[in-house]
């Protein structure tokens, strides 16, 4: 049995050779540095690696935004896929032009991330780990937090927003003086972090990118988890997990999506084309 990375390389080469994609988003290690790359030639696949975890979904959106024709391949973990689903619901991704190489996280990564679904729906590489984050662990929502003290550490780098796959408002309210005073550190926690949390209440896929990017160690996932739990308990909605359901909150808030996106009931991975489709309304 080949290692996960070798299996991924084989699938990536096959996908490139099939001509179905303009390139594949994957992590590559080159000159001792690991970075996301858009691999367009099979020889570039030699440098492919799987860690450290680097959410690639936002880059898929970047590429589709700049090239309205390209079909994008992506080595996608569970969090990537959930982010892609929510991006598609918001009209920001065309999943018919997206091909996933589904990568299931191993036990260790699943533990470290405190992830409740560390795998995409269709797994091409790795095996499905059923993992339930323990209450009281760093990623659980139950713990009491002194938010005033925690958020006072904020350096206002906007890293949480920049790293988030779903912070996609065309005009970010966090940078508008009417909502958040500019030029001051730390920003007012109510306006900055709560505006962000509310904007993401029905989109956050709990990928942890915000926390990873935070130089001040703010427990941002906890903040979002509170809201996500309420959403799930009261409305039965979990962003990213329900491909065929639009958010029950503010359903009309989205303006015209800039991509004429159709959401396949199931996104195609290698081999099969997506079967059946569903319109994102």
């Amino acid at each position: 049995m080949e290692s996960a990375v070798e299996q991924t390389k084989i699938l990536a080469r096959e996908l490139l050779e099939s001509g179905r994609v303009a390139g594949i988003l994957a992590l590559v290690s080159e000159q001792g540095r690991i970075r996301p790359g858009f691999l367009q030639r099979t020889e570039e696949v030699n440098d492919l690696v799987l860690e450290p975890i680097y959410l690639l979904a936002p880059l898929a959106r970047t590429i589709q935004t700049m090239d309205s024709q390209a079909t994008v391949g992506i080595v996608a973990r569970g969090c990537d896929e959930r982010a892609l689903v929510e991006l598609a619901k918001a009209g920001q991704m065309d999943l018919e032009r997206t091909v996933l190489i589904g990568l299931a996280c191993d036990e260790e990564i699943a533990q470290r991330c405190g992830c409740r679904q560390p795998y995409p729906r269709e797994i091409d590489v790795g095996t499905r780990i059923n993992h339930t984050p323990a209450e009281g662990s760093s990623s659980a929502a139950g713990e009491k937090v002194d938010w005033t003290a925690e958020l006072a550490r904020c350096l206002k780098c906007y890293g949480c927003r920049n790293a988030c796959p779903l912070c996609i408002c065309p005009e970010c309210k966090l940078a508008v003086p009417m909502w958040v005073q500019t030029g001051v550190v730390p920003p007012d926690p109510l306006s900055f972090h709560l505006i962000r949390a509310f904007h993401l209440v029905d989109k956050c896929v709990d990928c942890g990118s915000c926390e990873d990017a935070c130089p001040a160690g703010l427990p941002l996932r906890k903040l979002h988890k509170h809201l996500l739990r309420m959403l799930e308990e009261r409305l039965g909605y979990v962003p990213g997990m329900q491909v065929d359901r639009q958010s029950p909150l503010f359903p009309n808030l989205w303006c015209t999506p800039f991509l004429d996106s159709k959401i396949p009931r199931w996104m195609s991975t290698l081999g099969e084309n997506g079967s059946g489709e569903m319109r994102g309304e």
């Binding site: 000159q31 540095r33 690991i34 858009f38 550490r153 350096l155 500019t182 990873d212 990017a213 160690g217």
Partner: protein, 677 residues
């Protein structure tokens, strides 16, 4: 469509974070963090996230410019280089090489700074070469050399997270070195002993366990006061002092003068707080001191740093992981520019220019003579402009805004017979030049930067420079050739090989070895793994030296005519003279214009409300800025960030110098305030 991510090093501060430039069809489209970077570990500050934004700005210089008559016009490289050759040769022939001077750049690469000083020394024949390190950590270079024998941060940034106690002097770290601040925050959360010494309430002091809000310019008295408590309570490390230090007895004698009551009289810090801080620092298993401009930008800057070094020697808090004396260097490559000998008294690797053996070594390798007489420092060069100094070559610096007393700098530069400025933008300084040479930005060239923890890292070229702009090293090669000394380097890699052959601490540095993590000097040979912390078994100078110092008040006190104390500094979303950050939309919109911070009591007395304009006047000049009414400054004090040319703090600042390092007292001066219409 072509989409790439190119790993490189952030061009802003000395922390040297790893960034990924996103490149789409030859244009920069974004910046991402580099996850496996040893310092920044997938995080960035606001400036880092927007590092790409100024690169394609329409104001980028694309052609050489030549002044003819009153106007400045575009020219070809051939014409510009000829003009440079004529200008410098004429002055050298008429007034001698000592009438020429050069300012290198802490923004440029090691290879470029090396070439610059080689050009000034070997080709033009003068040691008059300096750069803006004079305005940030020249006192560090003086004091750390005398105490420990090496003028660099003793430990590594990531080690700060492991300290049981962090004592931070005069550093607004979370705003100005945010990713170093990230490790300070981590240590504070783990160990809970963060002591911040700062006259202002800054972001870091709000996170501190103890904030010692001393009177401006009294750091040395405070450090001596801390030492007094430690000695009196017997908390000093006797074994360390005996085995590894010298000068203790003389130090002990001077420290007896700094009883807590005298200390309180000078600094305003009460005895109880002083004792608490002293005990925490002395009793910690691993205590690290971090400091920055709040300590150095004083006329007593060198002695301030010595007083801080004494504390570490007294408690044996140096030479182990997560301890030490950690100056945070300002510019991305200010450490490297110093290492490369862009200083008037030393050649690369701090090898003294007045040592005949050293000169012989360089002269032989370069096949060029090296002048023996140490050159003039930055402030001497500027004040001598038009008299002793006739021709000046400035690479990537903007002294009109960065140096004290802007008006006198502008006047001085205007008096020069010949001024060449090499930059990416037409800065305030470049507008005064006779020839302007357009250069490539960090994203458009290769080379290396050395960060504040001595880590040499490699840049990658992501895009092409605009128009006819060239990398600084290419320009320097052409200038040298025009002056009759061709330098046939094909790449920065070749230049580094020459540097390594002449600079012991860089002996093992090769571009091919700088994959991933880079290498921390000293790295004497190609099998050496680099050095995370210094002075482990022995100090570089042998023994650590106590240098007893006495408090000297700063140079200009408030009086009836100028009753307020002006403090200068920086803020989180801009960098230095704003040349890059103010052309970056995300940063410019965060803070569009300059401001002055004033205490609510003072604001009320002046009937000034938030956002209203205030005229600030010193003996040197006058500016207008909008008021920010805030408790972060005390009564009688105001704060102005120096980034903004239209309300430039350095119009007001003074040129009183630290006698040893020639650092001007940029931090403090006296001003008066009036409500402006």
């Amino acid at each position: 469509m072509n989409y790439q991510t190119v790993p490189t090093v952030c061009p802003y501060c000395g922390v040297g974070c790893g960034i990924l430039l996103q490149v789409t069809d030859g244009q920069l489209t974004g910046t991402l963090p580099l996850k496996d970077h040893p310092v920044s570990r997938g995080k960035l500050c606001l400036k880092g996230w927007n590092a790409h934004q100024f690169v394609h700005h329409p104001d980028r210089l694309q052609q050489p410019l030549i002044r003819s008559g009153g106007t400045i016009r575009e020219a070809s490289w051939a014409e510009a280089l000829d003009s440079v050759k004529q200008g410098f040769s004429r002055i050298r022939d008429q007034y001698g090489p000592a009438s020429l001077a050069g300012l290198a750049s802490a923004k440029c690469t090691n290879e470029e700074n090396y070439l610059f000083q080689k050009l000034m020394r070997g080709v033009l024949g003068t040691n008059n070469v300096d750069h803006c390190a004079r305005l940030c950590h020249s006192p560090t270079v003086v004091a750390l050399s005398s105490a420990f024998g090496s003028a660099a941060m003793t430990n590594s940034i990531a080690e700060l997270a492991g300290a049981d106690c962090l004592l931070v002097f005069g550093s607004n770290t979370t705003e100005n070195h945010p990713l170093a601040g990230s490790y300070i925050i981590e240590a504070q959360r783990k160990a809970g002993h963060l002591i911040v010494v700062d006259p202002r309430k800054v972001h870091l002091s709000s996170l501190a366990n103890i904030h010692l809000a001393l009177r401006p310019g009294t750091d040395m008295a405070l450090a001596n006061g801390l030492a007094h408590v430690i000695l009196n309570e017997g908390l000093h490390n006797r074994q360390f002092i005996e085995e590894r230090t010298e000068g203790f007895e003389a130090f002990k004698e001077v420290i007896q003068e700094y009883s807590p009551s005298r200390e309180e009289e000078i600094t305003g810090i009460p005895e109880s707080k002083l004792k608490e801080a002293a005990r925490i620092y002395a009793k910690a298993e691993r205590a690290a001191i971090v400091y920055c401009m709040g300590v150095t930008q004083h006329a007593a800057g060198s002695d301030n740093v010595r007083a801080i070094c004494n504390l570490a020697l007294l408690c044996g808090q140096v030479g182990r992981p997560s301890t030490g004396i950690n100056p945070l260097r300002g510019q991305n490559n200010v450490q490297g520019a110093c290492d490369m000998g862009a200083l008037p008294d030393v050649l690369p690797g701090y090898q003294r220019v007045d040592d005949p053996e050293v000169r012989e070594k360089f002269s032989k390798n370069w096949n060029l003579p090296v002048p023996a007489q140490p050159g003039q420092t930055l402030m001497e060069i500027i004040s001598g402009a038009g008299t002793d100094i006739r021709g000046l070559y400035i690479m990537g610096e903007n002294p009109v805004l960065s140096d004290p007393d802007s008006e006198s700098v502008r006047r001085a530069l205007s008096r020069l017979d010949f001024l060449v400025v090499q930059d990416i933008f037409l800065s305030e300084t470049a507008t005064l030049a006779h020839v302007v040479l357009p250069s490539a930005s960090f994203a458009e060239k290769t080379g290396t930067y050395t960060n504040t923890e001595r880590r040499v890292q490699r840049l990658s070229k992501a895009v092409n420079p605009p128009g006819a702009a060239l990398a600084d090293w290419e320009i320097l090669c052409r200038v040298a050739a025009a002056l009759g000394c061709p330098q046939d380097y094909e790449s920065p890699e070749m230049i580094m090989e020459e540097i390594a052959s002449l600079t012991p601490s860089y002996g093992g540095i090769r571009h091919s070895r700088l994959k991933g993590q880079g290498l921390q000097w000293p790295c004497p040979d190609v099998s050496h793994p680099g050095t995370p912390y210094l002075h482990g078994q022995r100090f570089i100078r042998g023994k650590g030296k106590f240098n007893a110092v006495r408090h000297r008040p700063h140079q200009e006190f408030p009086d009836t005519e100028y009753p307020f104390r002006l403090l200068t500094g920086r803020m989180f979303c801009h960098y230095h003279t704003g040349t890059m950050t103010r052309k970056s939309p995300a940063l410019a919109s965060e803070q569009a214009e300059g401001y002055m911070e004033v205490n609510p009591q003072d604001a009320m007395a002046l009937s000034v409300k938030e956002g209203e304009k205030v005229r600030v006047t010193s003996r040197r000049g006058s500016i207008v800025a909008r008021a920010r009414v805030t408790e972060s400054v005390g009564q009688g004090e105001i704060f102005i960030p120096f980034h903004f040319s239209e309300s430039a703090a350095n119009v007001l600042t003074q040129k009183a110098l630290d006698p040893e390092s020639k650092m001007p007292e940029l931090k403090v001066c006296a001003v008066r305030l009036e409500k402006a219409p």
